[in-house]
Structure formats: C-alpha cells, structure tokens
C-alpha cells in the first residue's frame, strides 16, 4: 500500500476528505480488494487504540474516585480534632462547677489511735497507691514506636544500573532527564520540583511515578506515596512493578497503616518470585 493511499484512508477516518477525495475513496473501496483490506486493518487499529484509550481513562477516573472518597474521611477527622478540645473544655467546666470535697491529708495520714482495745481498727491506706499499669498496651505501642525505626532502617530509595543517567554532549537535558539525574544523586526534593515541570505524558509514566513515590517516601510524604504505588501495581505497566509492593508496604508502615503493611509484607514473604522475599521475612521478624 502506497503512502498516499494510507493518507487517503487516514483522511477518511478523520473526516478530512473533500468531495473529490471522498469519491475517490469510495471508488477504490468498491473496486480494489487490497485497498478494502487496508481500510479494514486501519479500522481495527483505530478500534484497538480506542479501547486502550478508554482503559487508560478508566484508570485515571478510578484514581480520581479514590481521591474523592478519601476526602470526606479527612473532613470527619478534622471534625474530631475540633470536637476534642471542645469536649475537654466542657469537662473542665463541669469539674470547675462541681463542689470539691475537702480533704485533710494530714488527718488521713495519721493513724487514728483505737478508742477501745477491743474494737478492731479498720486501717485504710492513707494514700491510694497509683495503679501500676502492668500491661501498658505493649503490642500496639511497641509497634507504633517501632514503625518509624523499622522504616528508617529498611527504606532505601530504589536504584539499579539502568537508572544511571547517560551523559549526552552539550544538549540541554529534558525535564524528565533532569528529574532522573536529581533522583540518581539523591536530591529528592529537587527531583520532586523537576517532576512538576515535566510533560503530561512523562508525569503519567508509571516508571517515573515509581521514582516519584520513592522521592515522596524519602521526603516524608508516605501518604501520597501509598496512593501512587497502589496505582502503579493496579496499572501493571511499570517495569518496577515487582518492586512496588515492597515500597508500598513500607509506605503503609510509615503512614500508620500497620495492619495493611504487615499483611503486604506477609504476602511478599510468601511470594517466591518477589525480589524482596528475604527482606520481607527479616523485616517481619523485626516487627514481632
């Protein structure tokens, strides 16, 4: 098929043909079997692209939906933040208004001599000893304290040889190259700044988003990293997808989702194909 035929077909699908071209298209379609086949092939290709485009859009809307669903919870949490001081104030006011019993500690501390030796004296302890908290909610508190330490000792931003930026003469590096260079040298804040000025396609590239998630983890924004990594795993389009669960588990740990984090570490530890299986096993030991 010649180039001009392909242009004619594409023009037809884009509704760009004038009257004469359209007539030519119809004549070829009616008389030329090869042309008809090329038109069908082009139609199939456009249909395949449309389905892919819709799948991409659906993934984008799903992410947006999750973001929207997360918003009311945040508002509810904020409501509790306001309610807590109000409740404390009310409790304080009630306590202030209540008549306080007069306590004379020195009288209580002094044992009353028995008036009669025959009567047994009921000895009450002078000061009620503070109740010792024998079980200071050990597991959750220890875990909560341990999580940041575990995260700090296990999180290292992902690097492999393929990420090392290549040097290209005097040409001005593109924004995505600047992002990768800054990532490679470990300047994660600057890398995040560079990410913001990249093109829209680069910003939606799951490989670069995986690196962005690492930057977010390195700069203390684990919550945002969680949602990025969840999307990367769901899309299954990144070459880092096998590494992503490990970083997602770490991100969840750091953002306080200990149970989900532990469950994910357990599934990594049980997966013989995961490159992080051994790490997950050791980390789970340290979580115990």
């Amino acid at each position: 098929m010649e180039e001009k035929d392909l242009e004619l077909i594409e023009g037809h699908f884009r509704n760009n043909l004038n009257g004469q071209e359209q007539a030519n298209f119809q004549r070829r379609l009616a008389t030329d079997g090869g042309f008809r086949e090329a038109v069908q092939l082009h139609s199939d290709a456009v249909e395949a692209i449309r389905m892919e485009g819709e799948a991409m859009l659906r993934a984008r809307l799903t992410a947006k939906g999750r973001e929207l669903d997360a918003q009311p919870n945040r508002r509810k949490n904020l409501w509790w933040l306001w309610a807590l001081p109000a409740m404390l104030l009310c409790a304080g006011a009630i306590w202030w208004a209540m008549p306080t019993p007069t306590v004379e500690p020195h009288i209580q501390q002094t044992p009353v001599p028995p008036t009669s030796p025959t009567l047994p004296v009921e000895t009450t302890p002078s000061v009620i000893p503070p109740v010792k908290n024998e079980q200071p909610q050990a597991p959750p508190q220890r875990e909560a304290r341990a999580a940041p330490k575990i995260f700090a000792s296990w999180f290292h931003p992902y690097k492999d040889d393929t990420l090392e930026p290549s040097v290209r003469g005097d040409a001005e590096p593109s924004p995505s190259e600047v992002f990768q260079q800054r990532y490679w040298v470990g300047d994660y804040r600057a890398a995040l700044d560079a990410f913001e000025i990249m093109g829209a396609t680069a910003q939606n590239n799951d490989n670069l988003l995986f690196l962005k998630a690492n930057c977010l983890l390195a700069t203390g924004n684990a919550g945002e990293a969680v949602s990025l990594l969840e999307n990367i795993i769901r899309n299954d389009r990144s070459r880092f997808v096998v590494q992503a669960p490990w970083y997602l588990a770490l991100a969840r740990l750091e953002s306080g989702q200990e149970q989900q984090s532990r469950a994910l570490f357990q599934s990594i530890a049980a997966d013989p194909n995961s490159p992080r299986q051994a790490d997950a096993l050791r980390l789970l030991d340290s979580l115990k």
């Binding site: 984008r60 396609t201 939606n204």
Partner: protein, 210 residues
C-alpha cells in the same frame, strides 16, 4: 384554601412550562474536544455523588456498580465528543451522563431495577429521544480480546503516543512536546512506525486465528 390550590396549580404549570435544558453546552464540549483531561476529571467529580444518590433511588446496587456506570458514562461522553459524533448536547451534560449511567445500570441489573422516584431525567429517558446520540461499537468479544492483545504487545511509548494521536486527538506538536521529542518530523515518523507495527500485529493475529 382556594388560594393555596391556585398557587400550587400555578407553580405546577410553571414547572411544566419550564423548558428543559436544551441549550447546547458548548463550553463542556469545547473543553473536552480541546483534549483537556482536566475537564474530564472535573465533569466526573462534579456530578459523581449526585449520580450515586440519584441511581441509589432507582437501583438496588452497590457503590461499585454505580461507580462503574458513572465512569462508563463519562468515558462515553468523552469518546463521542473526541470522535466528532457529538458536537452539541440537546440536554445538559448532567442529563446526558445520568441517562447513559442509567442505561449501563439497566443492562447490568435488569432484574433488580426499582423505580421509586421520578424526575426530569427519568422523563427524558422514557421519551426515548436520547439514545441515537450514543453509538456503541459492536465488535465481538473475541475480536476485542485480539485487538487488546495486539495493543499490549506494543511498547508503552508507542501505545501512549497512538492513544494521544488517535483517541485524544492531539496534534503532532502537542505529542512532540509531551514526549520531549526533537521535532515534528521525527514525531510523525515515530507515530507512523507505531501504527504500522500495530497493524502488523493485528494482521498476524487474524491470520493465526484463520
């Protein structure tokens, strides 16, 4: 009492006489046609909760069903606009989207449909004057799978470029900028190469099947 009835009748008559939203929403169509995905996001987010509430009164389905239907409706509008099948809306975007979402739910939940509530959108749906606007593709499941499989075999860059060019209808210059390519000629050549490769894959798959 009579006065109250009179006021009620007047109000009802006023409501009946009130014209439906027939103004074409060119701003929405224009924004979608300009390939602004932010406009899609906004459209999706703006009426989402209202649709869930509206659909919840008509279907005994869970939130995920409503979410799927809503996504399908937004995607359908975007696809129809981008392919030039819709250039103006007879009703407002909300009515269009709710009607498409309703149809999706009807298809999925024929047996559990409940009509407890009725409003202007239900009337629009029942008039049946709406559906010619939506033209759905009729490719068989087998063919769909074959096309999807061919697309998955492509490199991610080719896939993204083809989607931008043929689905999002972006210009060569916009694609060049997005992919940080050196010039329009190389962008055009890369696109041609990708399309040719896709066609080869589809052809190979169809020959293998035959």
């Amino acid at each position: 009492m009579k006065a109250e009835i009179k006021i009620f009748c007047t109000l009802t008559r006023k409501n009946k006489l009130k014209p439906p939203h027939l103004t074409p929403k060119k701003d929405i169509i224009g924004a979608l046609h300009a390939g602004k995905l932010d406009a899609v996001d906004e459209l999706y987010a703006h009426h989402r909760e209202a649709f869930f509430k509206w659909a919840g009164k008509r279907f005994d389905a869970n939130r995920q069903d409503f979410e799927d239907a809503w996504q399908e409706a937004v995607i359908a509008l975007y696809t129809q606009v981008m392919s030039g099948k819709i250039t103006a809306l007879r009703y407002d975007a909300r009515t269009w989207l709710f009607s498409v979402g309703h149809k999706r739910l009807m298809n999925n939940n024929r047996k559990i449909k409940r009509i407890l509530w009725k409003d202007r959108i239900d009337e629009t749906i029942q008039k049946g004057i709406f559906w010619p606007e939506v033209q759905e593709t009729q490719a068989s499941t087998e063919k769909k799978e074959s096309l999807q499989s061919a697309m998955k075999t492509m490199s991610s860059q080719c896939r993204d470029m083809l989607v931008q060019r043929y689905y999002q209808e972006k210009s060569i210059e916009e694609i060049q900028e997005d992919f940080e390519l050196s010039n329009a000629n190389s962008t055009s050549a890369t696109l041609s190469r990708c399309l040719k490769r896709l066609k080869e894959l589809i052809k190979t798959a169809s020959i293998a099947k035959a």
